[in-house]
């Protein structure tokens, strides 16, 4: 009885999260006639694959996918490296004038204003740096936007880790950096994994800056590419859904691969050995 009740509780949440995905998948597999039929054929339609062919063979969605992958993976790695070091410094070294606290808040505050506020300044900066329409511009911006998140997540994980372990490593003759790499980081792997997944999702799905900073096919990411199929004359629902369905796969695979860490990583403080 109780177990059945548990599933009843899950139904609304599952409906809200999975219904759009189901809709997207079915649209990507429906012929255009079926897409607009009323009532919509929920299951009994003949699947067609021409939208996928259209997206990835005829049009350049493969290129967008590659750009998205390069940009999000690189920016995630950059944000993790820089942010983890910063978080470690903030939790382990005592800075003067209570800077540990002030700096942390200041870093967090960069996420408090709407992103659009920075769009114009960033556009001008990238133009002057001749980085418009490059992957580098997106990598820089995504790294900057993910950093506060990484710092705050990792700060929590480091704070929970007993200092004795690093001190033991130092006494044993290791350097600060060595202790960080050999002792501290292996112990916060769940936290790193959870943080990485979030950064990757945010970069992968980012639309605003990709739209502002890139206009060429060579530098365009998948979200911008998909949105580009909304044209003055028609909306290519099939192609857009096909591309979006493919876009879902890498994140899903990544999250599933890190699932065992995610559960531990998201419950802060669970890293204690």
């Amino acid at each position: 009885m109780r177990s059945k009740f548990r599933y009843v509780l899950l139904i609304p949440a599952l409906f809200f999260t999975l219904a759009p995905v189901y809709w997207m998948l079915t649209i990507s597999l429906k012929s255009e006639v079926d897409q607009f039929a009323t009532p919509p054929p929920w299951f009994g339609f003949t699947p067609v694959f021409n939208h996928y062919y259209d997206a990835f063979v005829t049009r350049g969605f493969g290129q967008y996918l590659l750009t998205s992958a390069i940009v999000s993976v690189t920016s995630t790695i950059c944000a993790l490296v820089i942010g983890t070091l910063a978080a470690y410094a903030l939790t382990r070294f005592e800075l003067p004038w209570r800077l540990n606290r002030h700096l942390s808040l200041w870093i967090l505050s960069t996420r408090m204003f709407p992103a659009i506020v920075t769009a114009v300044p960033l556009f001008l900066m990238m133009r002057d740096l001749r980085l418009l329409n490059t992957r580098a511009s997106l990598i820089i911006v995504y790294t900057a936007f993910n950093l506060p998140f990484v710092v705050w997540m990792m700060r929590g994980f480091f704070a929970d880790l007993p200092r004795d372990l690093e001190e033991a490593a130092l006494v044993d003759g290791d350097s600060r950096l060595g202790a960080l790499v050999r002792v501290v980081l292996p112990l916060v792997t769940p936290g790193l994994a959870a943080t990485a997944v979030f950064c990757l999702i945010i970069s992968w799905n980012e639309f605003l800056f990709a739209l502002v900073l890139t206009q060429t096919d060579a530098a365009m990411t998948l979200p911008v590419g998909i949105a580009g199929r909304v044209t003055q004359y028609e909306i290519k629902w099939g192609v857009m859904s096909a591309a979006a369905s493919v876009a879902l796969v890498p994140i899903l695979v990544f999250a599933l691969a890190l699932q065992k860490y995610l559960v531990r990583g998201l419950s802060l403080g669970a890293v204690k050995g």
Binding site: L165, A169, L170, D172, V183
Partner: protein
């Protein structure tokens, strides 16, 4: 490897944790820093390890000033109260860690790990992870990690405090033997006076950041420098009889208890007795004073029954009632001659210690 603290102080914010500490530790010595919690003993050890900065003063290892030498270059080994074993490494990896960061090659590492594992009888645990070990086993691994290389000194921060009583006594003995075998300078922090007495070649008693006395266990016990040391060392604690001009201290074993009256003995009543098996602690009331005496195992007395005490006059300690400092021999000699005054003090003193 000699270690010297020269006028070392440590402040955290406005609070002084260690205050003008000077201490010279000779090569091969086993020195115990003893004191109640918050006395600065752990901070002292951490300053030596380089885990805390020194506010003022200097620390020397082998006559080299190490104030600004980072921890990893001080060539010391430390055993932490929490053991601080690396949870993600096997026991062999834990023990081998100091060798790994010093770039010992693999065969040398394995050989050394096996040697210390054999010495501490933990060969069978080498492939396990720390969480699969009992407290006593973890303790041995922490020790193994410390001795696997030959550091200039061992620092131990209450290494036995997380063990149960039986294991603690056993490990205490093993530690002593190990230090004897290795002959390496060891600095050991504890609040347990029994550990200090049994392990140390010299004991540094600390209180509120200040060194109270630094001497051999026997001298600390027999000639305490002040009332704090006298009270802190020895179990049960020394008895104190308060007077106007002097405070008299006498250890429980120097009070003899008789069931029959005898010459020169002081009448007292039994408050309670505690049978320890090998001896009996007799809690006594004399006037308003409470005394503890150590009696033979077969000593029996009813609560509130009358007994007679003989205090060993030559074993008494005399302290200044104001400063708590032990009084000079001249003064005590003078005082000892007026024997009646001790008895009078005891009989008529209405002050509880």
């Amino acid at each position: 490897m000699g270690i010297e603290f020269r006028n070392v102080s440590k402040h955290f914010g406005g609070a002084s944790v260690v205050d003008d500490l000077s201490l010279e530790i000779r090569d091969g010595e086993f020195v115990v820093l003893l004191g109640p919690s918050g006395c600065g003993k752990t901070t002292t050890l951490r300053m030596l390890a380089g885990l805390e900065t020194v506010s003022t003063g200097d620390i020397f290892i082998d006559s080299e000033r190490v104030n600004d030498v980072p921890t990893q270059h001080r060539d010391l080994a430390m055993v932490f109260q929490s053991y601080a074993l690396y949870p993600h490494m096997t026991i062999a990896e834990n023990i081998g860690y100091p060798l790994r960061v010093r770039k010992f090659d693999k065969s040398q590492r394995v050989e050394r790990i096996n040697r210390v594992a054999a010495m501490l009888e933990i060969e069978s645990l080498l492939e396990r992870k720390p969480r699969q070990l009992s407290g006593g086993e973890r303790q041995r691994v922490a020790l193994a990690r410390a001795i696997v290389r030959e550091p200039r000194a061992y620092l131990m921060d209450e290494p036995l405090s997380n063990l149960d009583a039986r294991l603690r006594v056993q490990m205490r003995g093993e530690l002593k033997r190990l230090q004897h075998q290795l002959g390496t300078t060891t600095i050991y922090v504890t609040h347990d006076q029994a550990e200090a007495m049994t392990l140390a070649s010299r004991v540094a008693v600390m209180r509120k950041g200040r060194l109270q006395q630094f001497d051999t266990p026997m001298n600390i016990y027999n000639h305490p420098a002040n009332r704090f040391v006298a009270e802190f060392v020895g179990s049960p604690s020394m008895n104190f009889i308060e007077g106007e001009r002097v405070t008299i201290g006498i250890r429980p074993e120097h009070i003899q208890v008789f069931s029959e009256p005898r010459d020169g003995a002081i009448a007292a009543s039994v408050y309670v007795t505690e049978l320890m098996g090998n001896e009996t602690f007799v809690f006594l009331s004399v006037g308003a004073n409470r005394l503890i005496a150590r009696a033979a195992a077969d000593f029996r007395a009813e609560v509130e029954s009358k007994v007679w005490l003989q205090l060993a006059k030559d074993k008494m300690h005399y302290f200044d009632p104001k400063s708590g400092k032990a009084l000079s021999a001249d003064y005590t000699d003078q005082f000892k001659k007026s024997v009646e005054s001790v008895d009078a003090l005891l009989r008529h003193s209405d002050r509880l210690r």
